[in-house]
Structure formats: structure tokens, C-alpha cells
């Protein structure tokens, strides 16, 4: 017989859905499965439908709609059309905007740990990938595909695979498993070059000109061969890559044992299926949960995307890319006293990870507060350029925002169903900041979006302002839950094996993944809240 379309699920009105977690969460009702599912569905849909849906008319390809702007995802998408030349002419100087971000004294986050910051960096580097040569373009696959350990394309994946037992190439150092080293033994006074087996993994020129420019020679000796060019740029990227590589090889080992007839290819692909969904689950149930302004265990509701109109081809927008630049999370140092790590210490420092092990690094980062997301809280080294030929990170960001000619903060609030603010007082209670913004913009309606989302005040139980919360949740839910591995035709034993399904069901936190891959399981403490203890 013909199949009838599923009846539409009952919709909880938005205004109710937004309040539900705040009501249900503290009551502890999130532990009751049907309630958890109902509230999660209501919440995900409220955020998923909070603005217009994809496909959108414009991308950065052109200011009018063209076949290119509708289909070529190498151009970054955009939520709203560009601002007018008049609006652009009225904007303050870029340098004055950059200065708004400069931290004088660290304001710590109320709850968020440096481990969260590193996870966010590692996670978003995989799908927010602005082209260095053309600001309109990106190199994203527009999917959560764990390219951090698998590479961005099949050629890179094949270089990273051992081609035996479905495993990724790895090495054992002091009894523990790490990715293979990327570079050949260094010749004195010469820049690092790839080992022959990794030639083609990245563009050698990019590595030489960009990555190695900021890395001390001695550190490059321990750079790992991982999926992305920036995979060794912080101790956070490094520990996350180690953890997921170990987990991949662990799962591959289980699959190989249970399926002796399977070849390397099938074991690898099935392990990858499992690992990608494991990451998706962490992202929704641990990471977004931490971001969310509620004490409620959001569930990645099975097959929710199958029934929704927000399930359309992913396309990372320039706004999603920019709003995610949470540079204010970065602390001045990790730890205190003589052993404190400054930026030189937590960047390009695989030696430290090899010396201390992932347990110690992750525990240290989990106990350390990140900075609070907001203006006037980005560390100096990301605001002020150390080299006149290279703009700073925040200068690059403000420059990109300007080139993208985005509409105002209030226009975006409206586009996400939020009321327009009528004054700087409504934006922030900080009178000095009100005055500073008033002096720059004159009128709340002229406030730039990128400044507004960081200026917007929020209570301690949130981790960013209202508009940024809506925007990040909308793009995250509607592009993570649309992953093909979560679809009704795909999410089943045939795709993951029964064992794979069990592993996914039983894995609920990053802490668990690290623990089962640690030399000292008892020493593992991984948390996105610095106040908590394992």
C-alpha cells in the first residue's frame, strides 16, 4: 500500500517552548524520558524555525540572486542581504571597532572552562573555513564530518589511514597512542617538510608560509599528521585529535574482531560512521547543552530532522562564521604562578602534551575559567598585531565583517523574531560601554551586528546575549541534526552494527570517551564547567 505522510507532530507555541526548559529543568523533570523528548523537540523546533529557512536567496557570490548564489557552496552563505552604501558610509573607523574588543583586565566566565573553549575551537575549525585568498569563499564541507581526524577529502583521508584493520596511522610513545608525526626529520636552518607519506595532505606552501611562521622550529618536530592544517595550533586541538584518533582505532579494533570477514575499508568506514555520530551526540547533548540558557538535558531527538521543514541542504553562512569568533573565551594564562601557561605555552606545543599526557592537560583546562564572552575581553595578542604586515585576529574579523557588509544588530534581531532594541541602555547596563557605543554609532539602529552580539548583556546562567544564542542555536541545530547519518533510512544497525549502536547509546560525555582511551583513567577530569569536579 502507499505510505501516508506522517501526521504532523503537535507544535508547542514558541513563547511556551522558550520557557519550558527553565520551568522543567530545575524541577529535574529532564530525567523523565518522554518529558525530555517533548521539551527537546519543542525547543529545537522553536530555534530551528526562528528565522527564514534555507535555501536563501543570497550568498557572498553576488548582491543579487544568481544560479551561483543558489548552488555554489564554495561561496559563504548569508542570512540577510547586504546593508546599503549609506549605512556603510555612516560606520565608525575599523580601528575604533577593533579597540572595543581589547581586554584591560580579564573578566572570567561564570561557569565556562578553558576545556570548553578548546572544544569549541577544535569543533568549529572543521566547518567554518574562510578562504584566505577570497573572503567571499570558504573551504567547508558544510557537514560535521570529523574532518579534524579524517581530512577534508578522500585523498587526505587515504593518506591518514593505515589501510590495515580500518585504523588511522598512529604511533606508540611511552606506551600511549598518538597520531603519526607529520614532518620529516628537520635539517638545520631549513623549514619543516612533510614526510613522503604525507605529501599532499595539505598545501606545503600554506604550511610553510602560515603555520610554521608562528611555530618554533623545535615544536614542529612533534607536529602530528591530522586532518586539518591548524590541527597542532593549540594544546586543545592536539588533545582532542589524540582522543578521537584513539577512539577511532579502539572502535575499529572492536569491529575487526566482531566481523572477521570485513576488509580494512569496511571497518574504517563503519568506525567513521560511529565516530561522527558520537561527536554529533556530544555536540547536542553536552556542548550545546552547556551553551543553552537552561538547566535542561536537551536530547538529539531521533529522526527529528526527517519531519521538519528546516531540514534543507546545509550551507554555512558568513554570520555563523563570524558570530563564532569567541576570542574573549581565551584566558591570559592557563594556571597561575611560575607554571602558568601563556599564549606561547598553549599554542603550538605538542611537546607539553607528550610530556604531561592528555589526562593532565584536559584536567588543567577543565579547572581553569575561560574569559567571559563579550566586548572588552579579548586578550591583547588577538587584538593587537605583533607584525605590521599581518593584521591581528580581531582586525581580520572586523575587516571580514565590514567586507561582508552586514545589516545592523537590530535588523538581525528582527530577522530572528526578537524585538528591536530602542536604546543602548536596553543593550547593556554598563554605562561606560553605553557611552562608548553611543559615541561610535550615535543610534542603536546603527549599531553593527558583530559589535551588538558581543555587547548584549546577559545573566550569569547564560553564556552569551539573546541574539547570539538564537543565531548560533538556529544554525547549529539545523545543520547538525540534518547530518545524513541521523536520517531515518540511515540510523540503524546496518550502518553502525549492533555494537556500534550500543557504543553510541552508552556514550554520553567527552569524559567517558577520554577515560576509555587514557593511560590513567582515574586521572581523567573533562568538563565544560570549571567549577565542577568529576
Amino acid at each position: 500500500m502507499m505510505k501516508l505522510p506522517l501526521p504532523m507532530k503537535v507544535r508547542v507555541p514558541d513563547a511556551v517552548a522558550r520557557q519550558l526548559p527553565k520551568v522543567v529543568g530545575p524541577l529535574g523533570l529532564g530525567g523523565i524520558e518522554p518529558i525530555r523528548r517533548l521539551v527537546s523537540r519543542a525547543l529545537i523546533n522553536t530555534l530551528g524555525y526562528s528565522t527564514t529557512l534555507r535555501p536563501r536567496a543570497l550568498s557572498l557570490a553576488s548582491d543579487y540572486t544568481s544560479w551561483l548564489s543558489l548552488t555554489d557552496r564554495t561561496f559563504s552563505g548569508r542570512h540577510l542581504p547586504p546593508s546599503t552604501p549609506e549605512q556603510q558610509a555612516a560606520l565608525p573607523a575599523e580601528a575604533d571597532v577593533v579597540a572595543l574588543y581589547r581586554r584591560e583586565q580579564l573578566t572570567p566566565a561564570s561557569d565556562t572552562s578553558v576545556m570548553f573553549m578548546f572544544f569549541a575551537q577544535w569543533f568549529t575549525d572543521s566547518f567554518l573555513r574562510t578562504s584566505l585568498s577570497d573572503y567571499r569563499k570558504n573551504e567547508s564541507n558544510h557537514e560535521i564530518d570529523l574532518c579534524q581526524i579524517y581530512g577534508r577529502n578522500i585523498e587526505a583521508t587515504n593518506l591518514l589511514r593505515s589501510m590495515q584493520g580500518g585504523r588511522l596511522k598512529s604511533q606508540i610513545i611511552k606506551g600511549e597512542e598518538y597520531p603519526a608525526f607529520l614532518f620529516a626529520p628537520r635539517e638545520a636552518a631549513k623549514p619543516a617538510v612533510f614526510k613522503p607519506e604525507f605529501v599532499g595532505l595539505f598545501d606545503q606552501a600554506f604550511i610553510t608560509d602560515v603555520i610554521l611562521r608562528s611555530a618554533p622550529d623545535a615544536q614542529t618536530d612533534t607536529f602530528f599528521a591530522v586532518g586539518l592544517e591548524h590541527g597542532n595550533s593549540t594544546i586543545g586541538n592536539t588533545v582532542m585529535n589524540i582522543v578521537f584518533l584513539r577512539e577511532h582505532n579502539r572502535v575499529a579494533g572492536i569491529l575487526a574482531k566482531e566481523n572477521p570477514a570485513w576488509d580494512d575499508e569496511r571497518i574504517f568506514q563503519t568506525a567513521r560512521n560511529i565516530l561522527i555520530v558520537m561527536l554529533l551526540k556530544l555536540v547536542v547533548e553536552e556542548y550545546i547543552m552547556h551553551i543553552g540558557p537552561f538547566d535542561f538535558p536537551v536530547e538529539a531527538v531521533p529522526f527529528i530532522a526527517d519531519e521538519e521543514r528546516w531540514n534543507r541542504t546545509n550551507w554555512c553562512a558568513i554570520e555563523f562564521n563570524l558570530l563564532y569568533r569567541w576570542h574573549s573565551l581565551v584566558p591570559n594564562t592557563i594556571g597561575m604562578g611560575p607554571k602558568a601557561l601563556d599564549a606561547t605555552g598553549f599554542r603550538n606545543n605538542n611537546s607539553l602534551v607528550l610530556e604531561q599526557g592528555i589526562e593532565a592537560i584536559m584536567a588543567m583546562c577543565s579547572q581553569e575559567p575561560a574569559g567571559k564572552i563579550g566586548l572588552q575581553n579579548t586578550p591583547a595578542f588577538l587584538v593587537d598585531s605583533s607584525n605590521p604586515n599581518w593584521p591581528s585576529v580581531e582586525q581580520t574579523t572586523v575587516g571580514l565583517m565590514r567586507k561582508a557588509r552586514l545589516r545592523s544588530f537590530n535588523d538581525y534581531r528582527e530577522a530572528y523574531g526578537l524585538s528591536r532594541l530602542s536604546s543602548f541602555e536596553e543593550l547593556t547596563p554598563d554605562i561606560e560601554l553605553q557611552q562608548r557605543l553611543e559615541a561610535l554609532y550615535g543610534d542603536i539602529d546603527k549599531l553593527e551586528w558583530y559589535v551588538g552580539i558581543f555587547a548584549e548583556d546577559y545573566p550569569d546562567y547564560m553564556m552569551m546575549g539573546e541574539l547570539m544564542t538564537y543565531m548560533v542555536a538556529n544554525d547549529a541545530f539545523t545543520q547538525a541534526l540534518t547530518n545524513p547519518l541521523l536520517a531515518r533510512n540511515v540510523f540503524n544497525d546496518a550502518t553502525f552494527t549492533k555494537t556500534g549502536m550500543s557504543i553510541l547509546k552508552e556514550t554520553t560525555s567527552l569524559q567517558e570517551i577520554v577515560t576509555r582511551n587514557a593511560a590513567s583513567p582515574d586521572a581523567v577530569h573533562v568538563s565544560f564547567s570549571y567549577g565542577s569536579q568529576s
Copy 2:
């Protein structure tokens, strides 16, 4: 305020929806706008939901689900998993299957014209593009993008554009507009080479080795520079390309006049937006309407895809590719008597089009019956190879079907919500054919899908069997109506201009498009039904 999701439209049950057009059509109620829309929506959704939705677990990348099978659309998709080795071992010899298609005597279609056949060829060549080097792969953009005149990628598009006034390159011959010629003046005894301005439009080796192999030298002199390699392979492809090139340049001229500030780029892109939707409208409202087993004017319901769960990223499946091989439509000759065109006459024959003009060619094709779709009705030149080194078209097709290891005809019927047939008698009343199939397969459950869809009997008011109708309509509706140009955020004056919207609204048939681009408008007669007269 937050936007609430739209309430779900009332669904008409499938069993009712399937009967509606047959009831409503003959009563002439299709002319009443709300009824037309209601019935169209019910029908499109019935067909759109007749099988499982995309994303599907498998493609031709592998027999198990992998990240590649879920994301890499250079591999052809597949609706059902492969058959078992036991099922494959039980199949008859390929040559015996090919022989089932051989036409002894033409069985004409009840209604369908040769013009329909040429339109179908021209239309499907743009998105069904099996790779010649790897049967698992394809070169499709998976969208109706009018690449027939615009090329498959931006490099080709740029070679085909004049870069002035938003126009495509063209030439005037005897006062009429045609595409530019593709090849440089031919040197005696040497194969044709591209004009310098078209180098890179296609792979020269492919043209030399494949296209020119079957084209007489003299004919290549008048090959046009169009979007696809096979664009000059039949007089049908040629007239369709001429018509759409003329219409593009006509629309570009109007846009240029109305928008004096626009540059070439904006005019071109906007004209292309209009032309693609014009084609989509023809496809749904004239072409699919002709295929459909009903006398009902199906409407491309505005925004229907925006609200449906079948709106998922397009992915052409191997079944869609194979079921569309309507070789039995091809007549032995077009016309009768000494002036009749045989296959040599209607293939690679732009000279004829230049000599007679598009009006005469299209009128001739519109009055000529196509063959009836079915077994035992493919002309000899497509069944029997003329060269032992090259398989025939039907041999290639059967070979591809076998390599794809498709499930049985009955398995596909079940997958589309149709009852399994229990005997060859149920399949066809033709006793000789029943016996022939019984001798080959023994059991209706073992009948191969590709044979079954052509063997299935159908009444005169249909143009193919039940399963093929369901399958072609499902893939067509769910991949044509998902075109981004039809989406709610896109289908508006900003994308097409007010004039463009009017042109789209007023254009309801290919006849109209040809007429406004013809030197002799009164001589235009274009119809998918050979019995009709303009």
C-alpha cells in the same frame, strides 16, 4: 515575534488522490484554479511520498553505508540495496535480455510524438550523465539548471557567454539566430578541432574519440557550441538548443533595456534565473502532464516543496537513470516516402536544421508518432552493435543494469507501495511475451526490474506501465520542484524582476516559446501529441 511553523496542509489520502485527476480531469474542473491547485498538490504529494525519502543509505559507492555513500554525489544514488549473489547467479544471459528489446515491426505510441521524444532526450541528457570511465559514477549537477545551453560549470558558461548585454554567443544565418559554430575550419583529412574561443568547453579527446566517431566530417562543420557534448547529436537536441538560446538572448535584451544600470553579469544571471524556471514550468505543466495517466492540467504549485518532507538534497539514482532509457520511442524513420529521415538523417544533422529552419523540423516531429514504450520495440540500430568493439546502446544499458545489481521488479513494486505481481499473466496479456519471459526467468519474482518496467502492460491513456510511472514521477517531482529558484525565499521579483515574473506567468507551452523566437510564427506547430493540431 517568533514565527510559528505553518500548519500542515490537509492531506488527501493516497487512494483518493490517485483517482482525483481521472474524475476531475474529464469534467473539465482542472480549469478552476482552486480545484486545480488542490488536485495538483494531492497528486504531487502522493507521488512524492510513494517510497522512502532521501537521504538514502546507499549509493553505488559501496554496498554498505559510508560517509562517501552519504555525501559524494559523483557516485550515482540507488533506491534499493543490491540483489544477492544467488539472485544474480540465477539471471539469464545478457544477450537474451538485450534481444527482448529488438523491434521487428514498429508499434507506434497511441498519442506521443517524436517531438516529445526529442524533448525527453534533450531534457534528461542534462542531469542523467553516467560516467563513461566508471559505471558507479556520474557527472550530473543533480539539478535542472539548463546546462544544455549554459554548460555544466562556470568555466564552460563563461566560454559560451558573449560577455555583452547578458547574452550567449550567437550568429545570424539567413536572418535567424543560431549558436556559434564550435569547430575551427576543418583541414582536409584531419579531425575537427575547437575554435580557440571554445578550447576547454569539453574534453577534446572525448569529442574526437566518441562524438566525431559517429558524425560525418561535413556535418561537424555546422556543430554548434552549446552546453553539452551531445548537444548536436540529433536534430531534436539542436532545435531545442536553438530555441532556448534565442529565448535567453530575447529575455536578456528586455532586461538590458529595462535596467540600463545593470552590467552584463547581472543581466545574464537574471535571464538565466528566468529561463531555468521557464523550463521547470514546461516540464511540470506540459511534459509531465503528457506522461501522466490523466487528462488533468497539473500545476507546479507555488512553494509546494517548502512544506514537504520530500524536499531533500537532490541525488540522481541509478534507477532513475536507467528507467529513462526510452529507446522504444525512437521511430525507424521520421516521415514517409523518399524524404523520410532515417537514423542517419536525424542524427548529427545540423545542416538539415539550417536548411529547413526550426519551424519545419519541429512541425515534422510534432506530427510524427513516436514508438510505444515497451519491450520488442527498440529500433535495430540501438539494439545491434554495428562495430564489434563498441556495444550497442541497449547492450550498454543492460550491462549497466547488471553491474548495478538491482533488485527484482516485484521488490521495486513493493518499495513504491504497489502490490507484488503473482504471475506473468498479471504483467502482460501478450501470451507470446509471457512465455518468452517465463522461459527466461521462470518466476515472476525473479523478473529483472529493467525488463519488468518495460514489459508491464498499460492502457492507451497511459504512456508506460504503473511502476515506471510511479518511479519517474517520484524522482521527477521530488527533484524538479526542489529547485532553489522555486523556494519561498527566492521565487520573487528580486530574483526575476517584475517583467521576468510576468514572462514566467504568461508562458505556458513550448509552442509559445518557439513562436516568439521563430522567423515564421504562423508556421510553428509544437506538440507532444502527434494527433493534435495547433
